[in-house]
């Protein structure tokens, strides 16, 4: 199966077509998420994926703002 683009994944998650676990496993953060589960001694699950998502995910628009080094205050 072809890897889904981030926007597509977000759309599918918002539609309810996929859950948080599928989202995390399909996203670029899959390895980080799986490592986090391993370090916490838990199996990947819908619940842990949702928690990981809430703690880490930043939407694309926000990401563009953050990455713009000419925007904001840099001391």
């Amino acid at each position: 199966m072809a890897k889904l683009e981030y926007d597509e994944l977000v759309q599918l998650l918002q539609d309810g077509t996929i859950g948080f676990l599928r989202f995390m496993l399909e996203s670029d953060n899959a390895e980080s998420y799986l490592e986090w589960c391993e370090l916490h001694g838990i199996e990947p699950s819908e619940e842990s994926a949702e928690f990981y998502y809430d703690e880490t995910e930043i939407d694309m628009m926000e990401r563009q703002l953050i990455d713009d080094e000419d925007y904001g205050i840099w001391n």
Binding site: D28, E31, S32, L34, E35, L39, H40, G41, I42, E47, S48, E50, F51, D54, E55, T56, E57, I58, M61, E62, R63, L65, I66, D68, Y71, G72, I73, W74, N75
Partner: protein, 393 residues
């Protein structure tokens, strides 16, 4: 020894409750007041132990609720400070995470348990691939860390930015080891101070990402069942995790909760943001989180030890009695001459059980748990004229 002493004092100043282990030629060495801890918890006769005992000793220290910092590169660190070449290493350099000033125990354990052929962690691999896709531009723009955490993590890109959707809102964010942290909404006063350069990135990190800066607990704390001393013997935490409440009929619907299974007890409770972060970043063990969140339900003596009455309250004035009107057990305290008594606060079943049945809570601790706020407020308030007058008479 002098270097060790300097490093010990520096680390203790930042993390007074942590045990610092120095990786030396003798093995792992304890210093200063930590030597006493080693004697007490690890039954050591000397101030050091062999590396092969590390895993077992880490487990014992973690079980006793200690945070641990391993320092094994004093010389390297001091060399680095004087090395211009090292100081200008780009943050995305893939070998950066290996050059750590202070290592956490779990990093040490990971290193010993992972394949010797491939020591690169998934995160490092990811950073490599991301750097590659971002092209050479990123490599040409090396960025020195704004701070290095006690775990050896490198903080870069710490800055404030304004929301485009809600321009009145400002956020603080940073990267740790190249990974973007979720932005945190800033307090307006912090923004002003940051604009005026009165607040630094490390200070903002401390304020908005405190658990990212705390020493992580060793891996073993999350890989084996934690044990807590209970009223009738040791209690084993068979399961501990976090979930979001999905029952729409509940008042805590949509909130994150901790779930713990301890023996035949299955419990859940709404989790505080502080504890959720501590769990996410592994700066508290499951045992510590169970103690904090379910200590009363498990009637743990250690739970009640956190409650202390404010100074000046005579324990003899504490009354735990059944209310004649509603038949419920309530606690109140005498605040001394001229200040009268506090209100009577109803005890939960678990606190009553801990006080009367398991005797793991004292009357003073129960009073402190329920009445501290009221006592503090009343003690801070001036005595009323009427009361002052009656005292004079």
């Amino acid at each position: 020894m002098e270097r060790m002493s300097t490093e010990y004092n520096r680390l203790k100043a930042i993390h007074p409750d942590s045990i610092i282990l120095f990786d030396t030629e003798k093995g792992y060495e304890l210093f200063g007041q930590d030597i006493e801890v080693g004697k007490k918890i690890l039954n050591l006769d000397t101030n050091h132990f062999a590396p092969e005992l590390m895993e077992d000793y880490l487990f014992m220290l973690v079980k006793s609720g200690k945070h641990i910092i391993i320092n094994d590169e004093i010389d390297v660190y001091e060399t680095k400070l004087n090395s211009k070449q090292e100081a200008h290493n780009p943050i995305d350099n893939t070998d950066m995470p290996r050059k750590k000033k202070e290592k956490t125990p779990q990093e040490e354990l990971v290193k010993t348990t992972k394949s010797a052929v491939d020591e690169t962690t998934p995160k490092e691999k990811k950073s490599e691939s991301q750097s590659a896709t971002q092209g050479e531009a990123a490599e040409r723009k090396p960025r020195e860390p704004q701070m290095v955490t006690v775990n050896g993590d490198k903080v870069t890109h710490g800055h404030a930015y304004q929301s485009k959707t809600n321009p009145e809102d400002w956020y603080f964010t940073a990267k740790i080891n190249g990974e973007q942290l979720k932005p945190q909404k800033m307090d307006p006063a912090d923004l002003v101070a940051y604009k005026e350069k009165e607040l630094t990135v490390p200070q903002l990190m401390e304020r908005y990402y405190p658990t990212k800066l705390m020493p992580r607990v060793p891996d073993v704390a999350y890989q084996v069942a934690n044990v807590l001393p209970g009223p009738g013997g040791n209690l084993t935490i068979d399961k501990f995790n976090v979930y979001k409440e999905t029952d729409e009929t509940r008042a805590d619907y949509g909130k994150y909760k901790f779930y713990a299974q301890v023996g035949d007890k299955k419990m859940s409770t709404t989790a505080s943001r502080e504890d959720l972060n501590a769990y996410f970043d592994r700066v508290a063990t499951p045992g510590q989180l169970v103690e904090r969140n379910f200590g009363d339900r498990l009637h743990l003596q250690s739970h009640y030890e956190q409650f202390r009455l404010p100074e000046g309250i005579d324990p003899k004035g504490i009354r735990v009695a059944k209310d004649k009107e509603d038949g419920k057990w309530k606690v109140s305290a005498d605040l001394g001459e001229g200040r009268g008594r506090t209100s009577r606060q109803e005890l939960s079943f678990d606190d009553g059980y801990s006080l009367f049945k398991t005797k793991t809570a004292t009357r003073e601790q129960i009073a402190a748990k329920y009445l501290t706020e009221e006592i503090s407020t009343k003690l801070a308030a001036p005595l009323s004229m009427e009361k002052s007058a009656s005292m004079k008479m």
